[in-house]
Symmetry: C2
Subunit: 436 residues, 2 copies
């Protein structure tokens, strides 16, 4: 009798919350979210960041070309140059809306609206710790000030968001009370910020879901990555009804930063490819990351989402075999969507003969399965005594092929006497394993 999964073609329909036909969330915005790109605000708080006006303009244009919905800029009150840069970017005529991020204070608000931005992001700390050690204000004061600032910004005909800071260590009743009050005076978005990176995915889901029932405006979320959950938290927030996600290029920001733009794209394209691919120029991610990495003098991490050097490299024998049959076996993201390429590693002790056959065929060398297997055993034998490069593996494949064509037995590679002796011993072992 065929098992349950063998009678249908939908591979995952019976996974809880599975891709495809799984249980879906009524509140979910995963297939219609918006990006508030904050490299020029949160990212400017990164330890290494110093963007001059030209660099800010270059980054803003690149983000606009990528297709982000909003670009958020540093508070124009932070410094005079910050204010001038804000004005300059507003004048570029980008498709993305331009926001600036201010403290919940009328002085800041007046300076912000005068820059020409499309919207103002207002924030204030609401946790007891923040209230005690940062601004020292109580909840009623926060509510009153927030409403004053919101009404002022709205009166200027532009968007306004109100966000709490350190939302996940704030009292739930206080939070909902403030959000409800600002929603009632017509704020465009409320913001929930995991300023210190403590939130866990289910905690995020629960808080946003509750908030979704309290306010009718949009919900923006901002997640720091101190505990490794920034991308996951953004995803869960969208599942619970959040509408906007804050990102920065490579995640740069205070401490080790926030939800990275590229990482968010990896998460979203893996589950909702149509929306992401139709809206954003995914093939621009690498250029944008290179631009920002150079500006802040960092290297792209080896394991960066999408653009890390090994993101699409397959090594283990059984992985390589399946990938060569059907890439989706071990890939949820098509590297071609990002202008990247797949690489099947075939020069290690973990190499399988399917990978070697594939490589030989790329080299226009055709042999029998038995010959591919024997050639693979030789490559594995050498890889077992020292690291080998692709060229080494190619040399062995070519020399092995020449040997079987000519009937002669010439050396497969240039080796030291010691390596040759070790290799001979290894080949004997692998030969025994192969023939066992």
């Amino acid at each position: 009798m065929p098992s349950a999964s063998e009678t249908g073609t939908d591979l995952t329909s019976r996974n809880p919350y599975g891709h495809g036909n799984g249980v879906s969330d009524f509140l979910s915005n995963v297939s219609r979210f918006k990006i508030i790109e904050s490299t020029l605000r949160e990212g400017e708080q990164f330890a290494n960041a110093f963007f001059d006006t030209q660099k800010k303009i270059e980054i803003a244009r690149a983000l606009d070309e990528f297709g982000v919905d909003y670009i958020e800029l540093t508070n124009p009150c932070a410094s005079e140059q910050s204010r001038l840069d804000c004005e300059a970017i507003c004048k570029l005529g980008l498709k993305a809306k331009i926001l600036t991020h201010i403290r919940c204070h009328m002085d800041d608000a007046r300076i912000a609206v005068a820059t020409g931005v499309d919207g103002v992001d207002v924030m204030i700390g609401t946790s007891s710790l923040m209230r005690q050690h940062s601004h020292g204000k109580d909840i009623e004061y926060i509510k009153k000030t927030a409403i004053e600032v919101i009404n002022f910004v709205k009166s200027q005909g532009i968007e306004v968001r109100f966000s709490t800071e350190d939302s996940f260590r704030s009292d739930l009743v206080d939070l909902l009370s403030i959000y409800s009050a600002v929603d009632q005076v017509g704020v465009n978005r409320v913001g929930v910020a995991d300023t210190i990176g403590c939130a866990s995915p289910r905690q995020v889901y629960e808080l946003i879901r509750v908030l979704r029932g309290v306010v009718s405006c949009d919900i923006e979320t901002h997640f720091h990555d101190d505990a490794g959950c920034a991308i996951a938290n953004a995803y869960c927030a969208l599942e619970a009804g959040a509408t906007h996600i804050d990102t920065s290029v490579l995640g740069i920001g205070e401490r080790n930063g926030i939800t990275p733009l590229g990482g968010l794209m990896a998460r979203m394209v893996a589950t909702h490819p149509e929306y992401v691919k139709s809206k954003y120029r995914l093939d621009k991610i690498k250029d944008i990351e290179d631009l920002v990495a150079e500006a802040v003098e960092i290297n792209i991490p080896f394991n960066n989402y999408i653009t890390g050097f090994c993101a699409f490299t397959h090594k283990a024998g059984i992985h390589a075999k399946a990938i060569l049959n059907d890439p989706s076996t071990y890939e949820i993201i098509n590297p071609a969507d990002f202008g990247m390429t797949r690489y099947v590693h075939f020069a290690s002790r973990l190499t399988g003969w399917n990978a070697i056959r594939s490589r030989a065929q790329q080299l226009n060398i055709s042999m029998t399965d038995k010959q591919y297997k024997e050639c693979t055993a030789k490559i594995k034998a050498l890889a077992d005594i020292r690291p080998i490069a692709i060229d080494d593996a190619d040399s062995i494949i070519r020399a092995y092929y020449r040997n079987i064509q000519s009937g002669e037995d010439s050396p497969l590679m240039d080796l030291t006497a010691d390596e040759a002796a070790q290799l001979a011993a290894k080949e004997k072992e692998f030969g025994e394993v192969a023939s066992a």
Copy 2:
């Protein structure tokens, strides 16, 4: 009237799933999980990895000293050297239990148990894609073979785990049927593997929670990071009742790897510090990461959890002010637990005067608040025209202090004529802002 949160001292008790007294999960193992460290198995599948015997032993000893519960090694059938290394590590007499990871096949099992390991991790692909493109077997065959292998390994008096591969794209009914069958023959652990990195946190929570009701054995989980959820998924798995988490140092593994050991520690110490700090030598994380990074020739990512160069660097003015009052305002992780130090950045255009006062006091310079503010305006003015180093800021603080002591007005720094002119203009602007 004081608001709700102001009447109590527990800051977060009313957050859903909040830290402290929030709603707790009956099934949760977040405060009693175990680590299966797989740098020497999954990590060996990383594109750059080649570990010789000495390096494997060095890594195994370091992980043992850190306190991981298990160390998992490459399949001894992968190559003859892999088998010899496995035997060598078993003979080290480590506190950690030694496991090896094999295909679900009697040939592999016989070679594995002969190495002297404490347990064998058996795995087989169960998704339709894996069954079609990898091993080509049906569910009944998988079940039968699994039971044969499990019974054999158990008969040798050592632990045995059975894991499916690509579990999140497998049919739920097939999965539960196989797990239930192996649980009934007494497997020690079942393994759930997100081999391709597609799982989302709530999907993980749901699957593990259902599985927790089906099997009585331990539950191990293995998460790849392709979509940025590896740490979050591990956390949600523990919340749902999983008992063991697979990690590797820096997350190295196939493609861009799995849940990183350091990142998992960041997540767990942020919410359950007592357990993590009592069980693991957190101060060894940096040494272990340096050891592995050097062995596989990669740089520690700039934003690495705990040990990245900016993980504990604070820059924005309001952050710096609060951090100097109470570090927990913006830190969920105490850097000292990991032998790391905090750094409050005070030489940028975002600098606030609290940070400058703190730095001046470190330099044994005491001034009035008005003087600190004026000195800060000068530093911000310079930082607004070019990047400045700590030394530059220190120079300005010292020169400013000398000037007010001596009543003379000497230059604050060596600047080019152009810079001096720009600075004079900026100082004027900042002076106006400061006195406004």
